[in-house]
């Protein structure tokens, strides 16, 4: 019941999307009715024509000619309407999908980062792409087949009744058998399919691991063992695949068999009726036979459409879940537009944790003054990056407040806050587009000269110059042929162009070799004069001239001060430093 009501709920929401195109849906329904009527009417016409072909000398050509012309014209009209109907269905479906995808994408822009960090990208992308596609297929199929199927069944029944009710009864009694059989097979193969997909998943995971890391497999001479393990899964998969495929492939032959029983039944009863009462003509019988042939088809189609629709609803559910995901806390109504800040940042009793169970930052107090250089050091996982997440307001503090120039950062607009920072992360990100576009990302109105100047500042100019099309080289997804270090230089050039009042460098130079790094540090040094900067670094040598060094461990700032002070203290910083 709960499953059913949930499905209904999803359908309701899907309807909200379809509603916009209800005119199209109405047209499609009307057309479907007309098309089905036309399709069903043709066998009757043919039957009538056959009735005029009795025996030599008793053929009335005039009437046959009339009927045949009528057949052709009706076929043409039906075909035309069918085409229009198909196109209307396509249009409705594709537009609904476009609308849904647009909503998902818009939602993605305002979801809290917690969501992105907590869900694999692959999963989200597959919802936006694959699930939406499956849903579209289901919707399209549902549209065109479910409705026409039902209309065909009803229409066929009516037409058959209009010819002869007795024979119709034979058809009506026998067809449900086909449904029963199909249903029975589907149910009993369900567990087989499940087993197959579990085993297949197991095999895929294994292949992903072993082939994906083939170099390591070979480095450790594990080829034979991994082949053995693979064969074991492979054998199991073969067995359950065979069962699943064979049993599921019984559906068609079995329903076809039932169908042929119906056919034989109609032939028998039709012939008997003709002989005994003459209530049905030969043409009528032939028409009946072709109906009997077609009658079970919509039943089978409907049962497969229903499976497909259930699948589509499940997919729609997954997309809707994403669309309805709680967005980040909206901006305050009177949120302040932060101008270029002076860079006075205060942490007041800040506590934060990603999960309820695991506390991370507790009661952090910190005062940053204009122009200071703040370095954050500490072992991996101590919360360095968390601090940056809070500064940029990617995450909101659990308690306490971060203030900038006296404003609580939750009172200013996110955009104006973030634009005050220039951020370079360890994980570089380039957009598909030219190098120029990538550097100008934060300042699209920048001239080419500005961009080149920024690139020179980041020491990226010399390698960009050597790219095939220089600044107009098109970078594909994930930066294509550029090395990690080169990508990082482009990211740094981006910041050099914008020159924001505050800087955040999270291991920004980690994949650049140290010589280039030194040159960049120089450039940063110039950039940072008079600016507040936050620097996360592994290499302690790069941060010794910081005004304040925050030493973090397990989410707490355990030491705080400048290099000399911390060394004299002979604490954690001292031991970190001396091990380098």
């Amino acid at each position: 019941m709960t499953k059913g009501s949930k499905q209904r709920q999803i359908l309701g929401k899907v309807w909200n999307y379809i509603k916009k195109y209800r005119l199209g849906v109405c047209i499609s329904i009307i057309l479907a009715g007309v098309v089905v009527a036309g399709t069903l009417y043709l066998p009757i016409l043919v039957g009538q024509a056959i009735d005029f072909i009795l025996e030599p000398g008793k053929v009335s050509f005039e009437k046959i000619s009339d009927i045949l012309w009528k057949t052709v014209v009706i076929a043409l009209i039906t075909a035309l309407l069918q085409w229009i109907m198909n196109m209307v269905n396509n249009t409705v479906t594709y537009h609904v999908i476009a609308d849904i995808r647009k909503d998902v994408f818009e939602r993605l822009q305002i979801l809290p980062l917690k969501y992105m960090d907590g869900h694999p990208y692959g999963d989200i992308v597959s919802r936006v792409i694959a699930d939406a596609d499956q849903f579209a297929d289901g919707l399209l199929m549902g549209f065109s087949q479910l409705f026409t199927g039902v209309v065909t069944i009803v229409g066929t029944l009516l037409f058959m009744l209009s010819i002869h009710s007795g024979i119709t009864l034979v058809v009506v009694c026998l067809t449900p058998l086909s449904l029963l059989v199909a249903n029975f097979i589907a149910k009993s193969t369900f567990s087989l399919f499940k087993e197959q997909s579990v085993t297949r998943g197991e095999q895929t995971a294994f292949v992903d691991e072993m082939i994906g890391n083939q170099k390591i497999v070979q480095a450790f001479s594990r080829e034979d063992i991994s082949l053995q393990l693979f064969d074991e899964v492979n054998e199991r998969l073969e067995k359950c695949s065979l069962k699943a495929i064979f049993f599921s492939s019984l559906t068609n032959p079995c329903t076809r068999f039932i169908n042929s029983l119906v056919y034989a039944g109609v032939a028998l009863s039709g012939a008997l009726v003709t002989i005994q009462t003459g209530a049905i003509t030969i043409g009528g019988l032939s028409c009946f036979l072709s109906y009997a042939k077609q009658y079970t088809k919509p039943f089978n189609e409907i049962s497969s459409v229903i499976t497909e629709l259930q699948n589509a609803i499940a997919c729609a559910g997954r997309i809707l879940e994403l669309i309805e995901e709680e967005p980040q806390i909206p901006e305050l109504e009177n949120a302040i537009e932060l101008k270029r800040t002076e860079g006075n940042i205060v942490f007041e009793n800040v506590s934060f944790s990603y999960t309820l169970e695991q506390k991370l930052i507790q009661n952090l107090n910190l005062k940053v003054e204009q122009g200071q250089k703040i370095a954050i050091v500490g072992p991996t996982g101590c919360g360095k990056t968390t601090l940056i997440n809070l500064l940029m307001r990617f995450y909101d503090v659990t308690s306490g407040a971060i203030k900038i120039d006296g404003y609580d950062i939750r009172e200013v607009t996110r955009e104006s806050l973030r634009k005050n920072y220039g951020m370079v992360l360890q994980e570089t990100w380039l957009k598909e587009g030219t190098v120029l576009e990538n550097i100008a990302m934060g300042k699209p109105e920048a001239t080419r000269e500005d961009v080149i100047a920024a690139a020179k500042g980041a020491h990226a100019h010399s390698f960009i110059k050597r790219l095939p099309q220089g600044y107009d080289t098109y970078l594909t997804e994930e930066g294509g042929g550029l090395s990690q270090g080169q990508k990082q230089l482009i990211c740094i050039a981006r910041i050099m162009l914008v020159l924001p009042p505050m800087l955040i460098l999270d291991e920004a130079t980690s994949s650049i070799d140290t010589r280039t790094e030194m040159k960049i540090q120089e450039a940063f040094g110039k950039l940072m004069e008079g600016r507040v900067s936050f620097i996360v670094a592994h290499r302690l040598s790069t941060i010794r001239d910081a005004d304040v060094i925050l030493v973090m461990k397990d989410g707490n700032i355990i030491e705080q001060g400048n290099h000399e002070m911390l060394l004299q203290k002979k604490g954690f910083y001292y031991s970190l430093y001396s091990s380098q």
Partner: protein, 577 residues
């Protein structure tokens, strides 16, 4: 694809019987209209009740036998298809395992995984379908045509023309739409890439406040996709209406002809009904065939991709046995005029490298990003072959070693710390299945990983999830070091393996390695001078050239590149001194 068919070996019987039984079934179906025709012409015309009943039973019998034939066919087809793919998968897996690094680079691992998974699924369903239907549909069409011919050769002409027109319609639309569908797929891939890009870059996008631009771009790309879908949809939506019109015109002509023939007493009314039925059958089968062909083209495409991997030869040949006779007396590891150029690369990654290392020495390899450090150490276990020159280990050319022997001799800790699904013990025993408990703990201790395992309740039986996701980067790295140590290699290569370790752990690791009993010859690749400054020999690489070799002190005095690297990491000391 064709060459893959040899994997059907062992399933010859099934792959012949499957289609054959399907043919039997189709043949039976062709008799149905004939039975109905005689039921009308003989049974009804003569009011012969017994005859009608007889024909009824004939129809039922045809159904039953048809069912039996078809079930047999489905079974054989499924068995052959599944068995075929099982054998193919085995062969492909085995083949991939003996490809050398060069080929692995060329293929790319994600492509290799796709060949094993999605392509194989495609082949299996395509194979199953084609064993069942490929012969059946053309046979039914041809059969209906022949039956029509037998009934009336004039009607056969109408059949011929109709079949021709239908074929043109069905395949014409297919030929037009297939490339269009491909384009739509590309557009969908683009939308998918944009979504992914947006997720991966979420921090940067939000930092620059670019959300609106991203939305605009997405909507615009999707619009182009929707347009493409609608266009190709409207063409493929023509298939049904057009075939419908063609068949009905065919039927009209057929009946008109039939009427004339009946008038002259050449045909009976029942025969006309039979002809009409055959016409309907043809339409049905042609549509099935068209769907089948779509599936088939996908299968062939997948099959060709798999075949091209199978045809890929490993570029390295290993001798059956290590050639110990040619062993020369020389230092333990020797690089002699070694150059390396990767397949398809424009320039050499290593140029004319010469150095010698004695057994038990520690070698540091340093240089900027992309200078060839990894390339150099990868030549030692023969992951790649030097394009020029020779690498000697223990006086034997690495190309003269048996594959297993050289790989067992060298323990590698790669840059990317990868662990596998299974217990810690399983993972650590990768290089030596027979390793004892004591050996494992010893290795863990040296790798500074003992405490990680001790913290776990299950100790060595702690289950590592796929790709080691339930361990942190630093923990994984230490585990991979322990994994290489369990092997007790004579040469240990640490390829920037301490990058995720903090300095204290890194220092402790180096100390522990120094104090090992039966100390292996160690190559430490690093970007930081601190990690290698105590090495016996330091190799300084710059853009593929060996620009310096010696101890820390020697290099500080003589090697400019080394000085620069050192200075960049210890800025103050140098400027102060």
């Amino acid at each position: 694809m064709r060459k893959l068919l040899c994997f059907l070996k062992g399933y010859e019987k099934e792959s012949v019987l499957g289609p054959l039984f399907k043919l039997f079934e189709a043949t039976l179906e062709l008799f149905v209209p004939l039975a109905v025709a005689s039921l009308i012409d003989t049974g009804i015309a003569n009011k012969d009740f017994d005859y009608i009943l007889k024909m009824f039973f004939v129809l039922v019998a045809l159904g039953i036998i048809g069912l039996a034939f078809s079930l047999t066919a489905q079974f054989f087809a499924a068995k052959a298809a599944v068995g075929f793919v099982k054998k193919l998968k085995h062969a492909l897996f085995q083949h991939m395992e003996q490809l050398s690094y060069t080929e692995i680079d060329r293929l790319g691992t994600s492509a290799m995984v796709n060949r094993m998974t999605s392509d194989m699924n495609q082949i299996q369903s395509g194979m199953n379908m084609s064993l069942r239907l490929l012969l059946r549909s053309p046979f039914v069409v041809a059969g209906a045509f022949i039956m029509a011919w037998i009934i009336d050769d004039r009607a056969a002409k109408i059949f011929g023309i109709t079949i021709l027109v239908l074929t043109v319609i069905v395949y014409g639309i297919m030929i037009i739409t297939i490339p269009l569908y491909r384009k739509v797929q590309q557009k969908l891939d683009m939308v998918s890439a944009t979504t992914r890009e947006n997720l991966v870059g979420v921090r940067v996008i939000r930092a620059f406040g670019l959300e609106e631009e991203e939305k605009k771009e997405f909507v615009q790309k999707h619009k182009s996709l929707t347009q493409g879908q609608k266009f190709v949809g409207s063409i493929s939506a023509l298939t049904n209406p057009l075939t419908y019109v063609a068949v009905n015109i065919g039927i009209a002509v057929l009946i008109w002809q039939g009427a004339i023939q009946v008038e002259y007493g050449i045909l009976t009314q029942g025969a006309v009904v039979a002809l009409y039925n055959y016409m309907a059958q043809i339409l049905e089968e042609l549509v099935k065939l068209a769907n089948m062909i779509v599936l088939l083209t996908k299968m062939v495409a997948s099959g060709n991709r798999v075949q091209s991997v199978l045809e890929m030869k490993s570029s390295q040949i290993y001798p059956e046995k290590t050639n110990k006779e040619k062993q020369k007396k020389m230092p333990f590891v020797v690089f002699e005029n070694v150059s390396l150029k990767y397949h398809g690369a424009g320039e050499e990654s290593l140029t004319n490298i010469n150095f010698q290392v004695n057994q038990g020495q520690v070698v540091g390899v340093i240089g900027g990003t992309g200078c060839g450090k990894t390339s150099l150490v990868n030549l030692i276990p023969r992951f790649y072959d030097a394009t020029e020159g020779t690498v000697w280990i223990d006086g034997i050319d690495v190309k003269e070693y048996q594959k297993k022997e050289i790989r067992n001799m060298v323990g590698v800790v790669p840059q990317k710390a990868v662990l596998f699904k299974g217990s810690i013990r399983d993972n650590l025993c990768w290089g030596k299945t027979s390793a004892s408990e004591e050996e494992i703990w010893k290795a863990l201790e040296i790798a500074q990983a003992k405490e990680i395992v001790e913290q776990k309740a299950e100790k060595l039986d702690f289950e590592i999830s796929q790709n080691g996701r339930n361990l942190s980067g630093g923990q994984r790295q230490r585990m991979t070091i322990a994994r290489a140590l369990v092997k007790r290699p004579r040469i240990l290569i640490l390829d920037d393996s301490a990058s995720a370790l903090d300095y204290t752990t890194d220092a402790n690791l180096r100390k522990a390695l120094q104090n090992m009993e039966e100390k292996p010859t160690i190559f430490i690749v690093s970007q930081r001078t601190i990690s290698i400054q105590h090495a016996d020999i330091i190799l300084v690489l710059d853009d593929g050239d060996l620009v310096g070799m010696g101890t820390h002190q020697e290099l500080l005095e003589s090697c400019e590149t080394y000085q620069e690297i050192y200075a960049s990491q210890f800025k103050k000391e140098v400027s102060n001194s």
